[in-house]
Symmetry: C2
Subunit: 410 residues, 2 copies
């Protein structure tokens, strides 16, 4: 199935500079797709640290299980990724496949297998063609190149209509540091996890524990605040490697004030990647930003935001360019979070629609209807009972989503 | 918008016999729809008891609030219902509307206003045209007739494509008792509540406390086990009236063994109505039964069943007649309930597809693919860790749902 580039796609892919100490190689292995790359090897210099966030699904894939075992070491030399097959729900066969692929990578690089992480994305429940994959892996090391992150972004795509990348230049203790990352979507996207696959690299020199804290906190405000369809993947994996090549002062704990710039840059990059995933949501025609304030807690605000963002009735109304704010009221009500109907306020496109539990006097729908015709929809909800706030990003639910998913596997 | 009758609709509307002590009248009041009835009055003889189950939405409608106040009395003489406007998120104006309508009904029948219950269904956030409604109410009492339940089923419809009714003849203590009910859907249907609107009447003579227990238990196995789109309405209301005209022995508590037949008949009728709602789910092309067993608890089994039933990816795969069981695995994983991937088993259309965490050896997709072409889809999931079981009913997610909801209000 060939998909048209999302109308919400960024104008261009950013220029991703090399990150000192990381290189990339891709191959067309034919796992599922024809005529495109589907395998990617990412190699980091010895001494690199690693952090990761994995799906909370109870039916996680074999590579996710492997990463969960290895991540506590905090060290990695390589990440091997394939698209087209998730190696999920494949039992012992799946575990063996991961082990064989990882061992092949370790042998070809001369490192320990526990220093090789793995990620797979694609169809669930079909055995990975392990031999083919292992053969492809053996040819990858000699193809490694420092400026291969864009190629990597293309190799990990499934139903994505464009590759996703972002870069931020920042500093730690006055010394320049770069962060670059890629991600892929674009269905089975729901929060409480990382996105399906994302890989971020930096030349910063940070202990794995510090990296893990920064990553976890950044994910909570980015990937955990997006949803396309409310369906959590078996394969969600976000890995971040730090090569330590930058010449900044030694940092030993995540609260170090010298990390302020780096933290802000990382948060910004993660939000950028997460929003790119939403902008490529299956069938998406509109990008929707939902700001919730006045909730009982921050967590409550996010849950209300996600209840709105996951509501099929809200998403279809927006697809139909209908300012049907009653459905937003419904979604607030069903979220299960504390709310007082008679304090609720709603604004769409900056225009106050409802306040204190009813439509505002003399409400003029014309400017709101105009806003609904655009491709960037802004919804603000004031719960009116507390100080909790959160921002959630999603897309509309269109005929395109149905078409893509009613015959994805067949 | 005129909708084609759902392909899953029952062959015919059942013949609903009069229930001694109840009568019905309908009118075309023009609240929103043209050329059809949209108001319905249901009147019960003095001495009738009443029970009800209401939405748990935090943004419940004004008539739901009214019912919540009155239901504890356990007595009712009348129920006044309108379609086309939900009188939800209408603030103080909405409360005043309910009070005026209820007072008009009470005056025309010569009863107390607290003996009049109310329900509204339709668009959220628009004031109810109260004057028009009150005028229509005044003409209703002289139109009351005992065999008007079918007309009532038609008057309460919104995007429903057919009226929904069911009847069961049973006995208490050897004496004949009848139960008849109606319901309407068909979007914004999700569990943890009653359906949008349903009204059930019986000639049994039961205290309100007994009726409430039987109704609550029956709802847990019927209306709380269905979902169309996971969106919980602001207006969900299920009311059940008992006129006490049947000549059975006095019953004073819900565990009375003489209630066994009646309880079974009520459960069966509620399941029938709930399934009729699903069969008229917006855009539905297939009726899906999901049986979960082997979960840690009954509650867990229902949550897993609903995670599958609410998954857009599962629902679109079924719409596309694709036996994509990997998406069922995903939905089990995201439910948050206890599960062990390596014990999970799945059968579709009675054919074992996966067992102990992977596809069964020599799996032949042909009979499953054949089953997927039908309009009744059966999915069985064995979690393999406990004894909890539940059955959940839903429908597929099709282009029809998008079409209906992208321009419902406009």
């Amino acid at each position: 199935m060939s998909l048209k580039r999302s109308p919400l796609a960024p104008k261009r892919f950013p220029t991703l500079p090399p990150i000192a100490g990381v290189s990339f190689a891709t191959a067309a292995c034919g796992i599922k797709y024809k005529g495109r790359t589907d395998v990617c090897l990412m190699v980091m210099d010895a001494g690199s640290t690693v952090a990761g966030v994995l799906t909370r699904s109870k039916t996680a894939s074999a590579p996710v299980d492997w990463c969960r075992q290895q991540l506590p070491h905090g060290r990695a030399r390589a990440i091997i990724v394939n698209s087209g097959n998730a190696n999920a729900f494949t039992g012992k066969t799946g575990e063996t496949s991961v082990r064989r692929v990882v061992e092949a990578v370790a042998a070809s690089l001369g490192c320990r297998r526990q220093d090789v992480l793995a990620a797979s994305t694609g169809v669930i429940g079909q055995p990975l063609p392990t031999e083919k994959f292992v053969q492809a892996v053996q040819a990858l090391p000699k193809k490694l190149k420092a400026d291969g992150l864009k190629d990597a972004a293309a190799a990990i795509m499934t139903t994505d209509t464009y590759p996703k990348g972002a870069v931020r230049r920042t500093e730690i203790g006055g010394k320049p540091v770069t962060i670059a990352g890629i991600a892929k979507g674009s269905g089975m996207i729901a929060p409480d996890m990382a996105t399906m696959l994302s890989f971020v690299f930096t030349d910063a020199r940070l202990p794995a524990t510090v990296l893990q804290t920064l990553l976890r906190e950044g994910v909570d405000k980015s990937f955990n605040c997006i949803t396309v369809d409310g369906d959590t993947s078996t394969s969600d994996t976000l890995l971040m490697g730090a090569t330590g090549k930058a010449k900044h002062p030694r940092i030993s704990e995540p609260r170090d004030p010298r990390l302020a710039e780096f933290r802000a840059a990382l948060d910004d990059l993660l939000s950028d990647l997460a929003q790119q995933v939403v902008r490529d949501g299956e069938g998406a025609g509109k990008f929707i930003t939902i700001k919730v304030r006045g909730a009982a807690s921050q967590r409550g605000a996010r849950r209300i935001g996600l209840a709105i963002a996951n509501s099929p009735l809200v998403k279809t109304a927006i697809a139909g360019e209908d300012a049907n704010w009653g459905r937003i009221v419904m979604a607030v009500g069903k979220s299960g979070e504390r709310a007082d109907r008679d304090r609720l306020g709603i604004a769409i496109g900056g225009v106050q629609v409802a306040a204190e539990g009813e439509v505002v006097p003399g409400y003029d729908e014309a400017p709101v209807a105009q806003h609904m015709k655009g491709s960037e929809i802004d919804i603000e909800v004031d719960i009116g009972i507390g100080r909790g706030q959160a921002t959630v990003w999603t897309c509309d639910l269109t005929h395109g989503y149905i078409s893509i998913n009613a015959d994805y596997r067949s």
